[in-house]
């Protein structure tokens, strides 16, 4: 019997009924209260509480959103929200008079917009709140009006060949596009954290090889793998108030059959799915650039002599050319774009991403663009919330993001019309793309429905 008892004891020990399988997490998750304390940026402003600021919490697990206004103490209190991981955005607009009252001087613009954002914020019973600093950046006179990155149906449309970006003059004065740069930004495509990332999963650029900017590398700059630039001597390409320029990947009529650079015919079964870009002001032709590298011209990068070519301002560090054969936007929406002006782009340094520890022949380098130079920026996102990436743009440039419903679905993101003054459409620009844009069928020079 002793043997039996011994065996029984061993069996009990082997399968002991432990309740520590979940560590100290044997607590039931229940809706919790959470507060966001809004303050004006302490560096440029006074760090005081932001009253009546609009705060939006978006649950990254479910897509659920909660919106609350901050009180007189600057605190926005969310009652009974589901524990989880959240993205937080906050906005506040001050009129000139309100700004003067708050900060003691009159701003240059009739109103001043403040934005703030935090990503991947854990909300649970142990975390009851966070603080958010709101910053401001100038509202651009030129704005990105439309980005057609999704492309059209692979068999019936033009796939990705018909992509374009449209820039709009949202001011009441003529502006020359000459020298305007468009930067296609680079960042990490998953929110997974690593030793070379920030808490939201985005690259911690301060850890890039050769970086000397410290934490400002993340807060004061963005990083682009490709930059294209409008040609001209400064007064060649005016954009009148309420007018726009279209910059095509390939400035041809994509609705019509054509022959590519390999002399292969390309048919479009359903022209309604794509767009005519033969009237675009500019196209991005990389043929000459690729020939200079000793590479073949990309088969779909068809030159249309009637459409002006953009200048290739940055396509990777010299000797480490970035791989895209054309101005290709990610059909899934994992790019973001900025427009800025800089005469001497060569003065900007470039860096490998911080996951790189040894530079080799295939290392890619990304040009560092100062945030203060940015005229406008739009954060795009993957259409699948399960595949969304961390933000590349600071909250004051774009507090949120926008995306199409899918890839290859003929949709573009297009800026809303805010008002019409004397027949001129003024577009929405709150540096908050989820508020400023809608998604609809791509329409060069068209407006949001």
């Amino acid at each position: 019997m002793k043997k039996i008892l011994l065996l029984l004891s061993a069996a009990l020990a082997f399968s002991s009924c432990s309740d520590d399988d979940f560590g100290d997490g044997n607590n039931g998750l229940q809706p919790v209260n959470f507060s966001v304390n809004l303050k004006y940026d302490t560096t440029a402003f006074n760090g005081e509480a932001v009253q009546q600021g609009a705060v939006i919490l978006t649950n990254t697990n479910t897509g659920d959103t909660y919106t609350v206004q901050s009180n007189t103490s600057g605190v926005a209190t969310f009652n009974a929200i589901i524990p989880g991981t959240y993205n937080i955005t906050a906005t506040k607009t001050l009129t000139s008079a309100e700004f003067n009252t708050q900060f003691g001087y009159t701003p240059e613009t009739p109103s001043v917009l403040f934005n703030g954002a935090q990503e991947q914020v854990i909300v649970n019973a142990n975390v009851s709140g966070t603080e958010l600093k709101l910053k401001t950046i100038r509202i651009g006179d030129l704005v990105i009006k439309q980005i057609y990155y999704a492309g059209s149906h692979a068999q019936q449309g033009a796939v990705f060949r018909d992509q374009f970006i449209e820039i709009y003059n949202n001011s009441n004065e003529k502006i020359y596009a000459d020298g305007l740069c468009i930067g296609q930004l680079y960042g990490k495509t998953s929110t997974t954290s690593a030793s070379y990332t920030l808490s939201n999963g985005q690259f911690d650029w301060s850890k890039s090889i050769g970086m000397t900017s410290g934490s400002a590398a993340n807060t004061d700059y963005v990083y682009a793998d490709y930059v294209i630039k409008v040609p001209g001597n400064g007064t060649e390409y005016p954009i009148l108030p309420g007018e726009s320029i279209v910059i095509a990947q390939t400035g041809i009529n994509h609705k019509a059959p054509l022959v590519d650079n390999s002399n292969e015919p390309l048919t479009v079964q359903n022209p309604d799915l794509t767009v005519d870009l033969s009237n675009a002001e500019f196209e991005v032709y990389l043929g000459d650039y690729r020939l200079s590298l000793g590479e073949e011209v990309y088969r779909y990068d068809i030159q249309n002599p009637a459409v002006k070519d953009m200048n290739i301002a940055y396509w990777g560090r010299q000797g480490y050319s970035s791989p895209n054969k054309d101005f290709l936007m990610d059909n899934l929406g994992r790019d973001s774009f900025v427009i800025f002006r800089e005469e001497n782009l060569n003065a900007y340094p470039n860096f490998s991403d911080p996951s790189v520890t040894n530079i080799i022949n295939t290392t890619k380098f990304f040009i560092q663009i100062p945030k203060v130079k940015i005229i406008d920026g739009v954060e795009l996102q993957h259409y699948n919330p399960s595949s969304q990436r961390p933000k590349m743009l600071q909250a004051e440039v774009d507090a949120s993001f926008i995306n199409c419903d899918a890839a290859y679905n003929s949709q573009a993101v297009i800026r809303k019309t805010k008002t019409i003054v004397n027949g001129r459409k003024i577009l929405e620009d709150t540096n908050n793309s989820s508020n400023d844009f809608i998604k609809q069928k791509a329409n060069p020079k068209g407006f949001a429905n």
Binding site: M1, L7, G25, L29, N61, T62, S386
Partner: protein, 520 residues
């Protein structure tokens, strides 16, 4: 039936049999009545070291088809299955018995929605949490291989030793977007030891098993995996009503460790056998996501969700082995508690509690090889409770099933025998409640299309009828051919479903199973 009457009936059965004397061997393949004995042997082989079960090998191929109309949502509309199986018990020596089996089945499921897991709600009310799904119905192809075996041995010192082991392997995939593909591997073993003194046997057991499911969900047209296409957008159920995004849908692993221990006692004389067993089982399933570079492997850093089920099972069995009449009776109680854990949120939102009371008994009268009749009666009472604190679902269900069956050899000649079996099972919900409070905008679709229709099914009274015919042909003295056909129907008897939905399919479900076996 009141508990006093149940106890009285059990005592009556025991007292009737107490003085009978016979020590013949039992052929578990003789009649459906003995299926329970075979299962009991498979679970507790040490209880059979002194009782002789006839050697047998059964090799079978069979076909089954289910047309499920009256059903829960996360079950296929139609299932077709082809199986090959072989199993047997071999008395190598008087004190040594071997047993084992092999099964291969190929299953084609048509019209399965809201479920990308290997579980189905045909025989469970609620799927265990942590699975991907999309609403769109699709067809699945499934293959499974199961291998199991064991031995039971009694030493001269009356010490008993037994062991069981199994290995299962399976592959499941869906044939339209979204396309989950699941590779399953499951193996484990159990060691039993005990002691036999006079007519008493005691044993203790301990076992461990590991199950790994490596899965991915792909699309031919990945654009369909977007909220704009809600029918094909893949999401993740982390509870019962809590629906979330999970970026690891295209690569993930479930790893489950199952541990158990138990003990049992049996009293046995030449005719009677009374046994009591207890088993504790803990199953801990972990979900592992892909890492930053897209690889998935079993590592604590990649663990996202867990699900634990702890079960306590007690059984009381009685068997009387008479000269012409055998009796059996069984009582069982099982308490299951399931709860989940989210590593990111560091907490739990889902709880499941099941209290399962089972009772069955039966009698069989034989005239040599001919079964004059066999009659079985049983009942199951189950208390269910499923709570999702974040999905805000509270589902309660108290159900009663009463089942009875009767079979007899309607023809018994020297070489030919035909057995006919009929049975019915009545199901009713004694009490039920569903509270679902939408506190977010993301989960109402799942509640409207799964939780409420399933509660409608669970609340509705139903009757399952069964008829089965078996033809036996003696190929030789020790070899038999069996051809069988089995037909079941399930119909709704009540309209309790109207509380939850007006659009509920009450067309009867049917099940057919037929095949051929050689028993030798």
């Amino acid at each position: 039936m009141t508990s006093k009457k149940v106890i009285f009936y059990f005592i009556l059965l025991v007292s009737c049999a107490a003085n009978a004397q016979l020590t013949d061997s039992l052929s578990v393949q003789q009649n459906l009545f003995y299926n329970d004995v075979q299962q009991h042997f498979w679970k507790n082989p040490l209880f059979y070291t002194t009782q002789h079960l006839n050697d047998f090998t059964l090799t079978q191929i069979d076909f089954s088809q289910k047309n499920l109309n009256l059903k829960r949502v996360q079950t296929a509309d139609r299932t077709t299955q082809y199986s090959f199986s072989t199993q047997g018990i071999y008395n190598v020596k008087p004190r040594l018995r071997l047993f084992g089996g092999f099964t291969f089945n190929k299953i084609a499921e048509k019209g399965l929605g809201y479920n990308f897991s290997t579980q189905r709600t045909e025989n469970q009310n609620v799927l265990s949490p942590n699975y991907f799904f999309a609403p769109k119905k699709g067809d699945w192809d499934i293959q499974n291989y199961n291998l199991d075996g064991g031995f039971a041995y009694q030493f001269d010192s009356n010490i008993l030793l037994g062991a069981k082991a199994f290995y299962k392997n399976g592959k499941s995939y869906r044939t339209i977007d979204p396309r989950p593909e699941i590779q399953q591997s499951n193996y484990g073993g159990e060691l039993q030891t005990g002691y036999n003194f006079n007519n008493n046997s005691l044993f203790v057991s301990a076992g461990i098993a590991k199950k790994t499911e490596t899965s991915n969900i792909t699309y031919v047209n990945d654009a369909q995996n977007a909220p704009a296409y809600p029918e094909t957008f893949t999401r993740f159920a982390s509870g019962y009503g809590r629906i979330i995004f999970n970026s690891s849908y295209n690569r993930y692993i479930f790893n489950t460790i199952d541990k158990n221990f138990g003990f049992g006692y049996q009293y046995q004389n030449s005719r009677n056998k009374v046994s009591a067993t207890y088993k504790y089982n803990k199953s801990l399933e972990s979900f592992y996501r892909k890492n930053a570079r897209g690889y998935v492997y079993i590592d604590d850093e990649l663990k996202m969700y867990m699900y634990r089920v702890i079960a306590h099972t007690g059984e009381l069995n009685y068997f009387y082995d008479g000269e012409k009449v055998d009796y059996k009776a069984a009582f069982g109680y099982e308490r299951q508690k399931g709860d989940n854990f989210s590593v990111i949120e560091n907490g739990q939102n889902y709880r499941m509690n099941l209290d399962i009371f089972t009772f069955s008994n039966g009698v069989i009268k034989k005239d040599k090889d001919r079964v004059v009749y066999a009659f079985e009666l049983g009942a199951n009472y189950i208390k269910h409770k499923y709570i999702d604190l974040l999905g805000n679902t509270d589902k309660l269900l108290n159900t009663l099933e009463i089942q009875t069956s009767f079979n007899k050899d309607i023809l018994a000649k020297e070489k030919n025998k035909i057995n006919l079996s009929v049975g019915v099972k009545y199901y009713m919900a004694l009490d039920e409640k569903l509270v679902f409070i939408p506190i977010s905008s993301s989960n109402t679709s799942f509640a409207d299309n799964v939780i409420r229709p399933d509660q409608a099914f669970d609340a509705t009274s139903k009757l399952q009828s069964n008829i089965m015919a078996q033809y036996f042909y003696s190929l030789s003295k020790t070899k038999k051919l069996r051809i069988f056909a089995n037909y079941n129907t399930l119909v709704a008897l009540g309209d309790q479903y109207k509380t939850y939905t007006t659009d509920f399919n009450t067309t009867e479900s049917s099940y057919f199973n037929g095949g051929i076996s050689i028993i030798y």
